[in-house]
């Protein structure tokens, strides 16, 4: 085949091999514990710890005292001469590593709250006081406290396969969570002189002992939340008699702690049906002014959980709805003060139900009997079966919704904030409470995966739900910033935590699902991962391997780029060249050459000389053959040449010469460094449009620059890379051929004649102010 021109070289072997190298040594060597397929192996083991906990909440001193008996099961093949427990409350002890390593910006620029918080850190008498550590025989066991960890030295090593019982007594003051950002604490309501408690990471908990790390030995500095062993819990919580308690587990003695009317409602709410109050807003309001003298003990049992938390207050409204999930009844419940109304009774429990319905579809059935959402001082935090969620309406009960109806001028903000945080925190039941990844090591394994599912659940809540991290383009400002660490960074060292450990992995998985693997392959592999590792302890390699193993898609390039790297997607269409077959037919080719010549724009000089009287015009004697020669005229010699050519060609070659095709050589530059599929939109002269997805493997030999030839039978008028913004491409300005002019956001805003949504609905109030 003869082309008019020569195609540029398709690719050069540089960069591509590195981008597509297999992960190899970056992953742990497969063993019979963790297989190369990403599944738990026949040798898989994990420890187990069962707890019986008795605790008393002191509402006068904001303090808890408790004791626990732990039955520790050594399922490992190793003898253990000591056990480690976590004392997370020691993070709040004076002089803790968390405080000592805390940094801040200029003091002059701190808000009052930040200053008050710093003062509170200096004042608060935090940390766990250990009263005793005893063996099953009642004898003291020696122990050593190393900041947020406590080591129990065993008189005799605990043999592989053996179990042992020991007891710990402890106490700690409860932190004011309105002053110090924390995962648990109290909130004081000055108007009615009441406290609301959210108690978490509160009892000495056995640290994880694993096949991949041994004892989990990372101190608690605040970011890496926790990882623990699964077990069964019996929990006895003693509180003022007029408190309502929510806790991980099923309430065992409702008849002892609830009034007759509450008990009747509670029992009715256990049946599948509509959402209903167990404690009404009016009853909770009335309860605020009461002060019971006695105490009651609420008993809960939770099976196969890795932690327990609880909340307690006399301010709680309590509503519930029982739904079916995977054939079992699950009681979705919300506990909140009247300050949460009217948002909470409308949205909290429905958000719990919705989360379980959507998440279960992508993973496994929700395995617990209850799922709880509590409103209090903690902005958002998760524990098995129970979550703490902070958003409330303004004090006048209004909240913000930019899509409010015309005429409704109430200021509404927190509706979507509340729904989203509940979806997120309830979603954590799946990751990492059940798929028990190690939060002290890898924040993204729970926060990133959960944020990905959160977005799917938000999309199913209502059309155009304002998800904050649902679309790849929302991640671009982070991806192109100059201070980044890879996703595969330890939880305590992550820089820009929200974007790194939540946003980036969530968007990465979304891109994987929508643009790399496709929904069917992704959903199957993702569900396989969840099923394989529920109630087990996966590492990143188990996730990476399972996603590949279950889909037959080599994703090492994707993990390498998105999880081990800090590059970003920025693809440019650098050049487009059109080639057409030279038919050698002089009738066709000379006519085409003539058209090209006539279409050529004259130069300025040619234009200005157009009317010039030249010498040959004045003196025709100077003209000869070449003055009247038509270079585009077909001559006998041309026909002879053409016939000669045809005689030397086969029939197939002759047919090819008659093909009428356009050859477009499109050069793509990878300016961001992260290799990516190329979603393309090709527009033709007849206005028809073709959508095309080129796999990322186009970069496998040269990750910097590739040229792709598109052979079409129609003229192309435009080629656009990623018009649906699905790759997080950083710079749309170079995504089109020919180039499209895109004004800046500021220019767009200034030039816009359209009022923003608030002004549209509130014109009477604001039109005098804003022009």
């Amino acid at each position: 085949m003869v082309l008019a021109g020569f195609l540029p070289s398709m690719a050069q072997a540089e960069g591509g091999a590195a981008a597509f190298a297999q992960l190899g040594h970056l992953l742990d060597t497969p063993t019979e514990t963790r297989l190369a397929s990403g599944a738990p192996g026949p040798g898989y083991w994990q420890q187990r710890a069962d707890y019986a906990i008795t605790v008393r909440l002191d509402d006068d001193k904001q303090r808890i005292e408790g004791s626990e008996t732990i039955t520790y099961h050594n399922k490992s093949p190793h003898a253990l001469s000591y056990l480690w427990l976590q004392l997370d409350q020691n993070r709040y002890a004076l002089g803790s590593d968390a405080y000592l390593t805390q940094t801040t910006s200029s003091f002059e620029e701190l808000t009052y709250r930040r200053v008050a918080s710093m003062l509170e850190q200096e004042r608060f008498d935090g940390g766990t006081r250990i009263a005793f550590v005893r063996g099953e025989d009642g004898a003291d066991l020696p122990y050593v406290i190393n900041k947020t960890m406590l080591r129990i030295d065993l008189p005799t090593a605990l043999a592989a396969g053996d179990s042992m019982k020991f007891s710990v007594g402890w106490s700690h003051n409860i932190i004011d969570a309105t002053l110090i950002s924390a995962r648990g604490g109290y909130e004081y309501f000055d108007a009615d002189d009441n406290y609301l408690y959210e108690i978490a990471q509160w009892y000495p908990r056995v640290a994880a002992y694993t096949d991949y790390q041994g004892w989990q030995h990372k101190q608690f500095l605040g970011s890496g939340e926790f990882t623990l062993e699964l077990g069964d819990f019996d929990l006895a919580i003693t509180v003022p008699a007029d408190h309502i308690v929510a806790a991980t587990g099923e309430l065992q003695n409702a008849d002892e702690v609830l009034s007759a009317e509450q008990l009747q409602r509670f029992n009715a709410a256990k049946e599948p049906g509509d959402q209903r109050f167990i404690v009404t807003p009016e009853e909770a309001k009335a309860n605020e002014s009461g002060r019971a003298k006695g105490e009651k003990t609420w008993r809960f049992r939770a099976e196969n959980v890795r932690d327990v938390a609880f909340a307690s207050s006399r301010k709680f409204i309590w509503d519930a709805q029982t739904v079916k999930n995977g054939g079992r009844n699950v009681m979705a419940m919300s506990f909140y003060p009247n300050e949460g109304e009217p948002l909470w009774s409308q949205y909290s429990t429905p958000a719990i139900v919705h989360t379980m319905e959507v998440y279960s579809r992508y993973t496994f059935d929700y395995p617990y009997p209850v799922s709880i959402s509590v409103n209090g001082p903690v902005g958002g935090m998760e524990y098995p079966m129970i979550t703490f969620n902070g958003p409330r309406p303004y004090e006048d009960g209004t909240y913000w919704d930019t899509r409010q109806k015309p005429g409704d001028t109430s200021g509404r903000r927190n509706k979507y904030g509340l729904i989203s945080v509940i979806i997120h925190e309830v979603g954590h039941n799946y990751f990492p409470m059940i798929v028990n990844s190690d939060e002290r090591q890898w924040t993204w394994m729970d926060e990133g995966i959960n944020s990905f599912l959160q977005t799917l659940a938000e999309h199913e809540w209502e059309e155009d739900y304002p998800s904050r991290r649902g679309e790849p383009e929302q991640l671009i400002p982070y991806m192109i910033s100059d201070r980044q660490v890879p996703i595969m960074t330890n939880s305590e060292s992550v820089y820009q935590l929200g974007n790194n450990a939540y946003g980036k992995p969530a968007i990465a998985l979304s891109i994987l699902r929508e643009s790399v693997m496709g929904r069917d392959l992704f959903d199957h592999a993702f569900r396989e991962y969840a099923q394989r590792w529920k109630f087990k302890r996966p590492t990143p390699g188990d996730f990476f391997r399972t996603m590949e193993d279950a889909s037959a898609v080599d994703l090492d390039w994707f993990w390498r780029g998105w999880f081990y790297g800090t590059g970003h997607v920025d693809v440019a269409i650098d050049n487009v060249q059109l080639y057409q077959i030279d038919t050698r037919n002089p009738d066709i080719e000379k006519a085409w050459q003539k058209d090209q010549e006539e279409a050529r724009e004259p130069s300025v000089t040619e234009s200005r000389n157009a009317d010039m009287q030249r010498l040959v015009d004045r003196n025709p004697a100077l003209e000869d053959f070449y003055n009247s020669y038509d270079e585009f005229a077909v001559t006998p010699w041309d026909y002879a040449q053409y016939e000669s050519l045809k005689e030397g060609l086969t029939e197939r070659e002759l047919a090819l010469l008659e093909e009428d095709h356009f050859f477009y050589a499109v050069t793509f530059l990878n300016k961001g460094g992260l290799v990516t599929p190329l979603p393309l939109r090709i527009t033709y002269a007849d206005n028809s449009v073709e959508e095309l997805m080129i796999p990322a493997e186009i970069w496998r030999r040269d990750a910097d620059k590739v040229t792709k030839v598109f052979i079409r039978d129609r003229e192309i008028t435009q080629i656009s890379f990623d018009p649906q913004r699905r790759t997080a491409d950083a710079n749309e300005a170079d995504n089109d051929w020919p180039r499209q002019i895109r004004p800046s956001r500021f220019q767009l805003f200034k030039e816009s004649e359209q009022p923003n949504p608030m002004r549209r609905y509130d014109e009477e109030a604001w039109k005098q102010i804003i022009k």
């Binding site: 910006s105 200029s106 808000t111 304002p466 904050r468 956001r745 923003n756 102010i769």
Partner: protein, 160 residues
Amino acid sequence: MGRGALLRALLAFLLIPQALWAHPFHGSYAELEWSQGGTLDVAIKVIPEDLERALTSLAGTKTVLRDTPPVRALLVQYLDKHFRVLPENPSTQTQIVGMELDHRDTWIYFSIPATPNSAPRLRNTVLMDLEATQTNRVKRLWLPEAPVLVFSAAEPERDL
């Protein structure tokens, strides 16, 4: 801030119920471009509840983020302190051009009298007064190939 001022500040704080952090996304993003009229035009995206908290703290009274003259005045006061082009011209002030208030993306548009002639630096401590881990990203539209600058407590000032 002297001792007296600090005490007054704390007293003011104690009177204001504070919302608490409910997300880990302590970041903002701004696009900058020089205008023909001698200003640096800024479009900055923030999390609205964070900005509302900052304005509440600045005002000493509960402030709802709405596009009203009092909120604009507070915003000017806040931005003059936390989004500064250096060296500064003390006689100039930030001009609010407009706002787009939405739960997903809240954008504030403003202009700062400044020119690129004096090798300017930017001090961007927006919302760092609320969260120690706040990071602010800034894209310079006149340098489309340059990386986005990140401002943090450890690095609040950078060359533009």
